[in-house]
């Protein structure tokens, strides 16, 4: 399956975030329980801080944004700074917008359709079908925090992402951070804060760009 690679990052993060909220309740490898508990999640909203680390950067490039999800398949992944961009999927329709000349314009690179393919995968994760995704092998580690490591199983993905680590809070069982490692010196750390589960989200969040 060929997927527009530039779109992988936010969608994978979003998908993992969603899955892990329920996965955290499920316990190691208990995918059946995970699937059942996923059904209880109606909405998720959160702020996030993203730190991009690369050899070419002397310090991480920091981005900030907001994340919204409403069952069964509405999602908004929004960067507020330094570069404003929004991915919205709603009613089987996915669009990406970028700030241009003081307004938000739709991504014309043709990646939206590809993003839909990725989001379909994400949706299956959200339904707890995490163990059925052939693209990643998942391992669970319990310590101070709960750590889930995903490693790609397909060669095409392996050249792009080395591994993904998800850290869950042991007390609240809510995802704390996601680290996507592209190579040894190139990784993206996303820390979530003010996570709210099942709090009402205005439907316009998934329809209006501004």
């Amino acid at each position: 399956m060929k997927i527009h690679r530039t779109l992988y990052s936010p969608v994978i993060i979003a998908g993992i975030f969603l899955v892990m909220v329920s996965l955290s309740h499920a316990g190691t490898g208990d995918f059946e329980k995970l699937r059942k508990e996923s059904a209880n999640i109606k909405t998720i909203q959160s702020s996030f801080t993203q730190k991009k680390t690369m050899k070419i950067l002397s310090k991480p490039l920091v981005s900030e944004g907001r994340f919204y999800y409403a069952a069964p398949d509405s999602l908004r992944w929004e960067y507020l700074k330094p570069l404003r961009s929004i991915v919205i999927t709603h009613k089987n329709n996915t669009k990406r917008y970028m700030a241009s000349g003081g307004k938000m314009v739709e991504d014309k690179t043709g990646g939206t359709q590809a993003m839909k393919i990725v989001l379909d995968e994400v949706t299956s994760w959200m339904k707890g079908k995490f163990d059925q995704n052939p693209s990643f092998k998942a391992t669970f580690h319990e310590g101070t925090n709960i750590r889930i490591i995903l490693t790609p199983t397909e060669k095409s993905m392996a050249g792009m992402i080395e591994k993904i680590e998800i850290i869950l809070s042991p007390k609240t069982s809510i995802v704390k951070s996601v680290k996507i490692t592209e190579s040894a010196n190139n990784f993206t750390q996303i820390d979530f804060n003010n996570v709210e589960i099942n709090k009402a989200i205005n439907p316009s969040v998934f329809q209006d760009v501004e």
Partner: protein, 229 residues
């Protein structure tokens, strides 16, 4: 049919900008370039820009560009990152080499890497070629014309109203690149517009996010694709 072909040819020729005539206030082969417009960086810098790609009059995509440059060695490292943090392209270039450390489709062609590095050098580095001509254009703006080793022409134009522009022409005088520095609050690199004249013309609008003076040497990747330029 023949008339249509001739008409198309005439339109094509007229649509191509060619080397403008310079009124030579001074014309000497070994002319000192010290009085020429100089929008170029001196020293080592790390610049982070948002880059808006426009084609057919519409914004196609917006990405983040990181550029690490050293004017004394003419070394360049660069990376193209999505807003979401995915590295699409990473490369470094020395005087004779070009290393591509990472290139995801559609940025994985060798031509793309070469063109990116050449564009960065055109924007930030002073021309390597000799000063060929200095003078004014028909509208009285000051211009210095350089000729590169490969025969390309580079015009550096200082328009008091529009700001400084750099233009690269092919050896036979066809405009290939045009760069405009829109000076905002005293920073030359705050707002840069690159116009590329290719089979499909496109433009890049670069807005500065962050600029840092660099003290350390450039990092070098261990695993990469290296080619002689």
């Amino acid at each position: 049919m023949k008339c249509v072909s001739i008409l198309i040819l005439i339109i094509f020729i007229l649509s191509c900008q060619t080397l403008p005539l310079i009124n030579p206030s001074v014309f000497v082969i070994n002319e000192n370039a010290s009085t020429c417009p100089f929008p170029f960086l001196e020293g080592k810098y790390r610049l982070i820009h948002s880059i808006e790609n426009r084609m057919f009059g519409e914004t196609q995509s917006v990405i983040i560009g990181v550029t690490l440059i050293d004017s004394s060695t003419r070394r360049v490292s660069c990376a193209i990152i999505t807003a979401e943090g995915m590295v699409l392209f990473e490369a470094e270039s020395g005087p004779d080499t070009l290393k591509v450390n990472r290139a995801l489709p559609p940025f994985d062609s060798e031509d793309f890497a070469k063109n990116v590095i050449e564009d960065i050098k055109l924007i930030f580095f002073a021309p390597e070629g000799r000063l060929h001509e200095k003078g004014t254009l028909a509208d009285s703006t000051m211009i210095c014309r350089y000729q590169e080793e490969n025969g390309d022409w580079i015009d550096v134009i200082d328009d008091k109203l529009k700001g400084i522009a750099v233009k690269r022409y092919s050896p036979n005088g066809i405009l290939k690149r045009q760069i405009k520095f829109k000076k905002i609050a005293g920073d030359t690199y705050q707002n840069i517009e690159l116009q590329a004249y290719e089979t499909f013309n496109y433009s890049l609008l670069m807005n500065l996010i962050e600029a840092q003076k660099v003290e350390k040497n450039f990092p070098r990747a261990k695993h990469s694709r290296e080619t002689k330029k």
